[in-house]
Amino acid sequence: MNHSSSIVSKFSSVIYLYDNTFEGLLTSIYEGYVQKNFQAIITIKEAYIPLMFADIFTIETNADKASRVWKGLVKKLSPGERNLLVKCFLSELPQREEIIFQYVQYALSSTINIGSNYGNKYVLELAQIGKMVGREKHRMEAFVRFQKLKDETYYAVVEPDFDVLPLISSHFKGRYADQKWIIYDLKRKYGIAYDLEKVNQIKLDFELETIDADNVVAAYDIEEVLYQTLWKAYFNSVNIKERKNMKLHLRSMPRRYWKYLTEKML
């Protein structure tokens, strides 16, 4: 596993197209092993722009093949390290497939655990991306503002940098176990909904983007507006003017998250 591997992969002529699921990625890795294409480029089918002179394989996601790779990883990696692979996948970064593929090869080929070899490019990058996604997960646990709708459902909209809904669902399920809620990712156009029993993935039928503020307000529970006013008043009164530190504030709560924060709305 040296640094030249990434350069080689740029010129490698084998391309695996998969369906943008973690299982599909693991299946592709399995095929890479079967065909001994250890430098294959794995990329999402829909986003693929054809290259000349490339052997292209479309990978069919296969649960058995994926679980064989995963079982191999269970023997070599700690739960935290395996979790990093999932987080890296959820990052949706363009280099994620290469990092995961190369990391998996390194982990499987080594007799000892390699999870802490930060001198290795892929181990370090996986750790760093895992940290980024972890931070976004943490922010999404904090920057969600629910609005109570007439049907007693608490509804929140987010636009996270990474696809973190799968990571935050257990937090909200445990924290708000006694109320129905929906957290909707506007960027990725899907949401998670809790119906007092379990969390389901949902896709809302209507075009959310076309809903303007007036329509949302119309769907509010009677008391919702009162609580929003109260929440804003609370923020105004706990603020200490003399200690205002905008730089620190923006570091902890960057402006891109303000859009859906009640206390930041005028």
Binding site: S116, N117, Y118, G119, Q128, I240, N245
Partner: protein, 265 residues
């Protein structure tokens, strides 16, 4: 107080004024011993209930996140040394999880206090917190940072860099060999980087590029480390030069513009 501990995650007994003299000056009706007493009570109670919990699963939970305190900085004229020695004693004696230092915000025109409109000492606050971190996470002893010769923290450089410049004989530290305790003293390398380096060097030697990629502030650290038999600082460079170089490279909202021009050497 016992009741509060059953509900709250963490309890804070705020002593507000760090020193006894300060208390006499500003609040002569108050007695320091009376303010310390509840802290003592909490310390003992937390330990007691923790022990109970080991034996009886159903013993009540009492302030599971421990206790903290707060003191106001810059109201009654104590030195950084006074403040940090007191904080250190609190950490050791009462098992505190955190000490908070809050810069005084002038609210009254009492002559014993800084006048209304005087600015809040943010930078001093920041330096005190940095020192606090050095004590809790970087294995520093408070006497190494603040003592008779240095009763105040430098405002232009952070306390870790300050200590390093006063103790240049310790450096350069070999990042491939030195033990964790020493690694923690290198300016520009934080606890997370130290942990990464210590884990990674078991697999092979590390060089400058590895450190940069791990997120070490290399431009700061380079004066204090060696790796792969390579040192990055020429031997004749003095503490003053390092200080100037580091300041020139850093950007801080606190930094004053009159750092002093770089001298050619």
């Amino acid at each position: 107080m016992y009741e509060a501990g059953l509900y709250a995650d963490r309890l804070s007994v705020n002593i507000e004024i760090p020193t006894e003299q300060g208390l006499k000056l500003l609040a002569p009706e108050k007695n320091r011993a009376d303010m310390i007493k509840p802290m003592n009570y909490l310390t003992n109670k937390i330990i007691e209930i923790k022990e109970e919990k080991k034996v009886f699963k159903k013993a009540p939970v009492f302030a599971p996140a421990g206790q903290s305190t707060q003191m106001v900085i810059g109201a009654s004229g104590e030195s950084d040394k006074d403040i940090m020695y007191i904080a250190n004693a609190f950490y050791n004696k009462f098992n505190l999880r955190r000490v908070y230092y809050s810069g005084y915000v002038p609210i009254s025109s009492d002559q014993r206090l800084p006048a209304i409109g005087a600015s809040v000492p943010f930078l001093r606050e920041n330096r005190l917190y940095q020192t606090d971190w050095l004590l809790r996470f970087y294995e520093f002893d408070v006497k190494e940072i603040l003592n008779e010769q240095h009763p105040q923290l430098d405002l232009d450089i952070d306390p870790k860099l300050g200590w390093a410049l006063r103790n240049m004989s310790v450096f350069p530290i070999d990042i491939n060999k030195a033990d964790r305790h020493l690694m923690l003293r290198i300016p520009g390398i934080g606890t997370q980087s130290v942990d990464k380096i210590c884990a990674a060097r078991k697999f092979g030697r590390l060089n400058e590029e590895h450190l940069r990629k791990m997120g070490v502030a290399f431009n700061r650290a380079k004066y204090f480390i060696s790796c792969d038999r390579q040192t990055f600082k020429s031997n004749d460079i003095s503490e003053n030069h390092i200080k100037k170089y580091v300041l020139a490279e850093s950007t801080s909202k606190y930094r004053k513009s009159n750092v002093g021009q770089l001298t050619l050497f």
